[in-house]
Each structure stands twice: as C-alpha cells, then as structure tokens.
Symmetry: C2
Subunit: 651 residues, 2 copies
Amino acid sequence: MAGSVAEKLLTAHLVSGEPNPGEEIGLGIDQTLTQDATGTLVMQELEALRLDRARTEVSVQYVDHNLLQADEKNAEDHAFLRSACRRYGLWFSKPGNGVSHPTHMQRFGVPGKTMVGSDSHTCAAGSLGMLAIGVGGLEVAMAIAGRPLYLRMPEIWGVRLTGELPPWVSAKDVVLEMLRRHGVKGGLNRIIEYHGPGLAGLTAMDRHVIANMGAELGATTTVFPADDAVRRFLRAEGREDDFTELTADADASYDVDEEIDLSALEPLIAKPSAPDNVVPVREVAGTEVSQVVIGSSANPGFRDFAIAAAMVKGRQTDDSVSFDVNPSSREIFADLTKAGHTFDLISAGARIHQAGCMGCIGMGQAPATGRNSLRTFPRNFPGRSGTREDSVWLCSPETAAAAALTGEIIDPRDLAGKLELRHTVPAEPESASVNTEMLVPPPEPEEAARVELDKGPNISSLPDFPELPDRMAAPVLLKVGDDISTDEISPAGARALPFRSNVPKLAEFTFTRIDEDYPARARATADDTGHFVVGGENYGQGSSREHAAITPRYLGLRAVIAKSFARIHWQNLANFGILALEFTRSDDYDRIDPDDVLAIDEVRRSLPGGPELTVRNTTKDEEYRVRHRLSERQVEAVLAGGRIPLLAREV
Amino acid sequence: MAGSVAEKLLTAHLVSGEPNPGEEIGLGIDQTLTQDATGTLVMQELEALRLDRARTEVSVQYVDHNLLQADEKNAEDHAFLRSACRRYGLWFSKPGNGVSHPTHMQRFGVPGKTMVGSDSHTCAAGSLGMLAIGVGGLEVAMAIAGRPLYLRMPEIWGVRLTGELPPWVSAKDVVLEMLRRHGVKGGLNRIIEYHGPGLAGLTAMDRHVIANMGAELGATTTVFPADDAVRRFLRAEGREDDFTELTADADASYDVDEEIDLSALEPLIAKPSAPDNVVPVREVAGTEVSQVVIGSSANPGFRDFAIAAAMVKGRQTDDSVSFDVNPSSREIFADLTKAGHTFDLISAGARIHQAGCMGCIGMGQAPATGRNSLRTFPRNFPGRSGTREDSVWLCSPETAAAAALTGEIIDPRDLAGKLELRHTVPAEPESASVNTEMLVPPPEPEEAARVELDKGPNISSLPDFPELPDRMAAPVLLKVGDDISTDEISPAGARALPFRSNVPKLAEFTFTRIDEDYPARARATADDTGHFVVGGENYGQGSSREHAAITPRYLGLRAVIAKSFARIHWQNLANFGILALEFTRSDDYDRIDPDDVLAIDEVRRSLPGGPELTVRNTTKDEEYRVRHRLSERQVEAVLAGGRIPLLAREV
C-alpha cells in the first residue's frame, strides 16, 4: 500500500498502532457527520459524557431522514438537535437543506481530512480525497469529544480504472459492476482506492456515487485522489482555498489489485432484493414498472437529475408510473431550478419532493405490494421501502428515466435508438447556488454554555446497562440466516423512525420483520437471564444505526453467535455490551435450535484471557468452540456492560 | 332570492320540490369530484350498486390526500382508484397532479353547472359560477349513477362587497372577516352569494379562496357570478369556450343581506384552535412561530405563492422556522417555476413539497407540541395537524411569509415598513402551463367493461349493515360537547388515513381523540344492542368524510341524540342507518349521563309517523322528547339499515 492515497491519509492521522492489516490502529479525527435518525442518540451520548464543546475541526448535524412529520415527534427531534448543536458547538443543517453526504461534500469536505459519521454512507466523502468512515453513533460521540477512532487496519484494494464510459453508462454502473463482481461482502475489511487513467473522465460527484456505494460492498471506506476534478468541484462551490492535492505516487502499490475497463461497461441493474443481485439491463428488459424514484446519496449530483430531466423534457412519463424526484440538497435543487430542469421534470409528470433522503430510508414513497420500483438508491433490502413484500431495483438515473417514460425496464441505449435521444449530460453550473443560511453555525462558547437542551416529551434518556454476568446461561430466542441487515434487526420506515430517540418504544420494533413475537418474548428475559441470538454470515450488514444494538440489548440480548459479522454492527455490539462470538466451526451453526439453552462459564475471567471460549448447549448437552475478535479496550467495555457505563465510571 | 346567481343555478337544475327554504328539493348533477381519502369508498359503492358507466357529464377522481406512502397501502389505493376510474368511466388525476379543488377549477369547472364532491371544500368551485356542494361519498356515488341530489332548500345569503382591498390585505382576510363576524355555524343552511362592486377587484382564484372557506362557515355552498374575471381565468387555461356568463339581475334579492367594505379590512388571523377564532394580526404580534406553511385549497392560486416568494426573495427565513411550501397543483407549480418564484422560495430556505394537500389533511408537517404553526390552510381543529396538542393559526400568504422571515407573528404592513417592501402582486401568466397528461381520461365503454378492479390486500368490501330494530334499548357509550368535528369522530392523519379503504381497521381509530377506549367498548355492543352517543350543538362539523358515520356504525352506534347537527355529517348518518335525533328541550342534554340506558319503543312504526319520538332513560326513569328531520326517503333508508341495503334490495 506504499504511496497510495489511503496510506497517506492513514499515516497522517495515525495516533496509535501499526498500519498492518488486522492490527488495531487509532486515527485522529478531523470532522464528524451525524444525521437525525442516529444523531439524537449521539447528542444524548454527548450529554451522558458531559462534554462542554466539540473538539473536532468541524462537526455537522444534518436533518435529512425524518422529514415527514406524521406527528409531533420529528419536529421535536429537530428542535432537540438544534439546541444540542448550539450547546455543544456543532453546525446544524436545517430540514430541507439536503442529504448529509452531498451537502457535506459541498460545504465542508476538505481533501486530506478524516471524518467519522453515524451513517453508513459517510464513505461518500472519499470522493474528495478524505478518509471518511461510517461508524456507530457512540464512535462519533467519542470523536466529537476528541478521542481517536480505533479500528482493525484494513487491506487496501486498488481498483485501476481505464478507458472512458460509453454513452448511457454512468458512475452508478461502475459501482454496480463492482457489486456484480464481488457481492455485498466483497469489500469487508478493505479500503477501496480507485486510481488509473479512467479517473480523468469522472467528476467529483461521479466519484461520490462510486464511493457512496462502497458501503454496499461492505468496505471500510473508499478513497479517490484529490486531483483537478476535486479542485474544479471546490471552485464551483466557492471553496478553492480548501483544496489540497493528494494523489497516489506513480509507484504506489496495493494489497489487492483489480481493474475495470470503463469502456467495456454497459447499463446494469440490481434486481430485488440485494444490491449485488446485478444483471445487464437488457437481460430484464420488458419488465413492467409502477414507480421510478430519482435521488438519494447514491445519485445525488446535479448531473444525475439533469440527465433525467433532459430525457423526459417535452415528453410524458407513462400514466401507470409514479415518477418521484427527491432533490438531494437545497443547493442542487436551486441549481436545477435555475437551469430549467425542475420545470422539465414537473412538466413530464414528476412528483417533486422536499430535499432529503425520503424513500431511500423508507420515509414515504412505499410502492404497492409486489409492483416493481426502479430507484437510483444504494439499497434494496427487503422491506426497506416500507412495503413488506416489495420489489425494488437499483439503477442509474439514465435507466430510471427510461423506465419512467415507457412503463417498463428498458436499456437507455435502446430507448435512445427509438426516440433519437442523444446522451448529452447537461452542463453543471460554473458557480453553484451556494447558500449557507440553512446551516446554522455554533454560537461562541460563552453563549453555548448557557443553552438549555430542548427536550420534547418524546426524547428519552439513555437506559442503564448492567455489566456482563460471570456465568451466562440463557435461551436462544432467535436463529437467523445469512446477511441479516440492521433493517431487519431495527427497522427504519415511517412507523419506527419517529421513536429513534425513545429506546423503550423503539425496542418494540426489534426483529419484528423476522419474528413479530420477538419483543414480547425477549422482554421477559431482560431482567432475568437475558438471551442469545444465533446468526449466519455477515450478521448486521447495512446501515450504521446503533439502535440495532441498543434495542435488542434493552430487551435482554447479551450475546450473538454468528458465522461472521458486518464491521459497523460488530463495533456497535461491543459498544453496547453485547458479546459478539464467531463459530470456529461454522457447521456448529446447524446444531443449535431455537430455545436451546446456551451457557458460558466464568466469562469475565476467560474473555480477557484469549480469543476462544467454550459455549455449552445444556439442552443438547454438547459444546462449541467460539472466538471473539475484541481488542483489550473492547473486552473492558463489554464486561462493563458497554462503553457508556465504562466512561461514566471514569467521569 | 329572485334573480340571484344561486336562484338561476337552482332553477336550471331543479328536478323535484319547490325552492322554498326548508323544503326538500332534488337537483340534477352535472359533475362530480372525489378525492382519494373518500374516493375508495365511493368506488366500492359504485361496485355495490353494479354501475356500468358514469352518467354525469364529467366525473373526476383526484389523488391528493394520501401521498406520503409510509407503507404499501396508499400506492395500492392509487392503483385501485385508477382501475375503478377505467372501469366506471371517470377521469383519474394522478398523484402529484394537485389538490382537487384548484385542479378541477383549472381543467373542468364550467359556469352554470352543478357539482357534488366527497370533500367539504367542493364549494370552492362556486368561484366560477357553479353550484358545487360537498356531500358524503354515497351522495356522490348516487350522482355518478345519475340520481339527483336531495337537500333541504337553504336560504340565500347575499353578501355585498364594496371598495377595494388595501395593500397587504387579500382574499383570505375577506373570508376570515366573515368567520370573525359569524362563526363556524354562521352559514348553516345557507348559500352564500357574493355580489356588488367590490367583486371587480377579485380574480377567480381570489374568489376560490373565499368560496373554499365557506365550508368553515358551515354554508351549504358559496356562489360567485361568472363574469369577466371568470372569462379571463378560463382564457388563461385555454378554455374560453367553456365560458358562459351568469350574473345576478340588477334587482336581485336575497333572503338575508350583509355588506363588507373591502377597503376597511386589515390582516386577520384565526388563533388556535378554530377557524372562527379570528383577531387582527396586530393584536397577536410578537408571538413566536416555529413553522409556516403555504398551500392548500384555501390559498391555492399562483398569486398566493408568488406574493410569498416576492416577499422572501433575496432574504432568508428565520433559522428557528421551518418554512414549508405545498404547491397546490402541478400546473401552478410549473408556472411558479417558470416565473422564477420556486427558485426564490428555495433560496430563502423553503422546504418545497410535492403538489397535494399534505399538512392540511395531517399528512406530514406536524408541528412540535405547543409550538405555533402559521398556515394558509382552511382549518385548525385541535389535533388535525397530526400533533395532539398543536397550536395552529390560519392566515393569508402575506401574513405567513412575514412570520417566516421574522420568526414571530407580525402584521405584513408593519414588516413592509421595516423592510421597505411594496405589496406588488406578481403578474399571473397570460397562458397557464396547461398539461393534461397527468389526467388519465376514461376509456371507451367496450374497453371499460373489460377492466378488472385492482384490489390490493388492503382494500376491503363494504360491511353488511342490519336494519333498525323495532325496539332500541342501549347504553350511552359516549357523551360529547359542542362542535365535535368529524376529525374527532374519525381522525385523518398519517396513521389512520391509510386504512380508509378498510372499515374494520379504520374503526379502531373512532373517537379515540376523545376516548381511547371507545372502540373496544363499542365493539362489544355491535352484535348485541348497539349503543347511543349524546352530543351538543353542531355535531359532526368539518370534513365530509363518511367514515365518520360508517366506522361508529360498524362498532354498533345506532343513534346520536344531539342539540343540533352539521349538515353533511347528518346526511351521512342517515345514509348509513344511524338515527340522528335532536333534543326538543336542549336542557335534557344535561340530564343524561354516560352509561345511562336509553330506550325507544316501536321505532319502526313511529319514525314514519311524525318528527317527534320519546326516548326513555331506563336508568334514571325519565323521558325526553326528541325530533328527527328525516325526509320520507331518509326514513326508509334508516329503517333499512342505510341506503346501501335499501338499494341492494332494489337491484
């Protein structure tokens, strides 16, 4: 990895450890990003930590998730977040200002800086030559408090891009190609670094598309160099002063090598219901479509909307299709409107929604049962749309707009042939409609110290978490398969999300997509023995929400035994005192049944003693060897019941 | 009323009865309007009536209420409505095409025509010289089937307008003045007809504002003449051919007379939580505001958004305020965008939402508990915003935009003084951005006959309603006060509305704003004796939703005894077999307590026999005289258990 962009970023911020794959390192963190769905907990954590003022260079709290306001709870959260930003010295991005990732890139991203964010797509900032990592809310709270981020040093995966994208193929197809090749686990424990001559044809926003969906590959993060494309982007944002060149050395090397010839790519689409279920669009042409949605942090750029607008201009979307457009930031919406694209979209039959995540996070826009919905979003996990039996596809804006016009899936190259359309991407404005007024700056420290937190009736405090008992003996309340996502553990969507600041209420949704009775059965174990969950590969993939650890913990979950874990959720489990154990023999997974009682003796002594433990199945009278991958610090936290009780002790 | 516009409209459509106040008349109906929250039931009723094809000149189904789509139900309703329109020969206005009232006015309204609509603000079409009446869904279904509308002939209330509106005072202030003078019951059993020289300064859309909120006065409807202002409006819509002049004779007379000097009006505002709680804006100046919303059928015109945009142009809304803008129709949104107003609104910090009713029907935009929300909407009944303890104010766009800029209530004239603003209303486009592609026309009859209804899993059939028993003896399950609205009987909002096509599910929300246990206690009576509800004055005011009759009926409600009833809900009660009885001595209201058992003997014999009945309170051993106001046809329907069983018998 010598001479790579990733290496330079890591080395410049290393505060502990050696950057060898698998070893724990500590990194100094310059910036943080939180969104409202995870941010209310982060602010509650800052309160629990008794922080006086953020110690980062820049910390920004965005409101982009819970925008629908079906009742008072969302508006109360917004008021709480605003007051917490004023109290702790964070920037506050008002509802309507846009999705965190493109907005942060436009207003705050700086090449060469590090960032953690309580959103799994935080990695999108890699498009500017930042090292930006999605983590649990507590990791963000620690970073705001000036603590380093600790993680296992990942491998650096160099992806060399050559050639130029053909007409009707765009950045989304590049990352779909990566998902087609490597699947949702392909990036686990890796930083993806794109390099090579193909970069020259990709704007900073194109790179955002690719970096963003590194999250779907399971990667720690994605980085791009800070080169002329980044300089041009910052210039249009009126921030050329923030530019620093950061490129790989000519002889840079990588732990793993890969190559993509951009000129060989074609329009791709992820079929329901996984982002790596990727096929060429032509393979599924003719499939009927009832909804098309454009927007989200996976296709947030001016060009993504403008190309769709250019395609539908002077035409009408099919009358059986709902064509939904979610501007990704206020600035981009203003630019699109000034350039006439908003008018063209409205005229073609688009439903223009407020700037924000919207349907991408299940906040409205749920399709009818079983009807096909094509989206430019990053994810299509089952039920994430809000519809239990949904059928969501992921594609580029070009492929999406083509379907909106015809009412069926069609390769945009084939539509272009029929309509004599040319793939001319509308010009970006030379200067963006920069307007920082919806970004409320933090007040001076003296004023901040006087701010009272604005806690509406729906804002709870964090619950207490007792420490790990020395003898664990508890039933397996749930056994799940591979690739269980945090959406399945703690669902998003308009019903659940309003309770994200209220752990007892939110807990009632835990695992209900898999087992409606889980919360009731689990609650019964909470004060008693607690319980186990058994999982397959890649347990906890998907979003970074720490609610997926806190709510089952609140309901009595003390340990998960799985074949493997997704990185962010694994960290969240440790942070909130849930023991994450891996089978040493994955066949043992098959030997455990729901309701079996599992026991681990003298766990407080054996956990610091080494990576392996023995789990006894007292129902079947057999034993399994399992291992944990916890660092010393993490062991200490798990024994204490989680990081918060540990820190509370220190204070 | 001789020579009035109302008289001409009534006479031209009279099919039975004499137009003397209080007598039942029948009117031929030319057009119908349904929206999605009420329309799914109307379509189920057409199905129950086995209609082959609509017999009106024009019937349009709009989708403007349930646009958030938190789960699959809304999208499934949209698909059901689309299929029902195709099956029964109605126009279908797609989601995103706009609010029914301005959209209907733009595309379908014709001077001299009659219309019924299953939305209480149907009366807005009176702005074009139509006789347009909000009624229950079943009345609309009957009209679509070619049946006349029967109603008690109202009085005609002539309101003579003189003078011209001063700067910063607009149409909304005119109707707020009417509410200030007469309250929410002031228009009961009346048609309001505006006339006089002051009309010359009011555009057709200004008149829409005033006609729309005739609903809040409780009026049967509001009419304006079809004069040059209407001709200009239709010309801009490319429909000058649809214009017919319809004006009052010079010597027209009215049953009741009133006069408003427009030049004497000032900016007004309705305080929480009733539309008639009206005071001058200056009286409440300085009140802190956390949300401002512009939109809805009460201020739907181009000018209403354009004046707000002109006020905030180049400025920023206060950072503590959420400034929400709901375009009222796709056409107006397109025009605003073309003219640059959308850009100005976005730049000033507005959250632009999809075209539709949105927060006006509690579909999102709920404010924080107790925080002040200023809205250009027609209604502020408690809890209608989605927030139980809300604080919603109603005002003009000028007053709303002023508050958005300052974060507090301020008379726009005073703001204008501070900012050196001039009240220049931006010019309307000479030709509107007419685009009918989101209006799907009905297919030819042969094709329509082959259409299958698209019923998703959430679309129920109508339940069976048994006939009225001869001896009613049942407990009073609920006793309520004056002015109980249909929002309190069957709440709207994002939680309840998705179930509007599913009576058993929706019934679980009945009366829960007043008494959370009502559904559980009531269900117990449904198969047995049923139960009574006792109410005060103006029982059932507010929206036209017939769910407010169907769901309590489904739960066992057989009779309401009240001091007086709101007109539309009273009709809905008769349509669905609930006996509506009025105390002859209103003091008797005070003698009944919850859980008292009331009995009416031989009701099947005595109901057709005369208007008065005796109710025995068997708990207290006392008697009350009550009266019904049912026509012969209505008595027949109530005895049969409602109109649908009656018609089903005929088929």
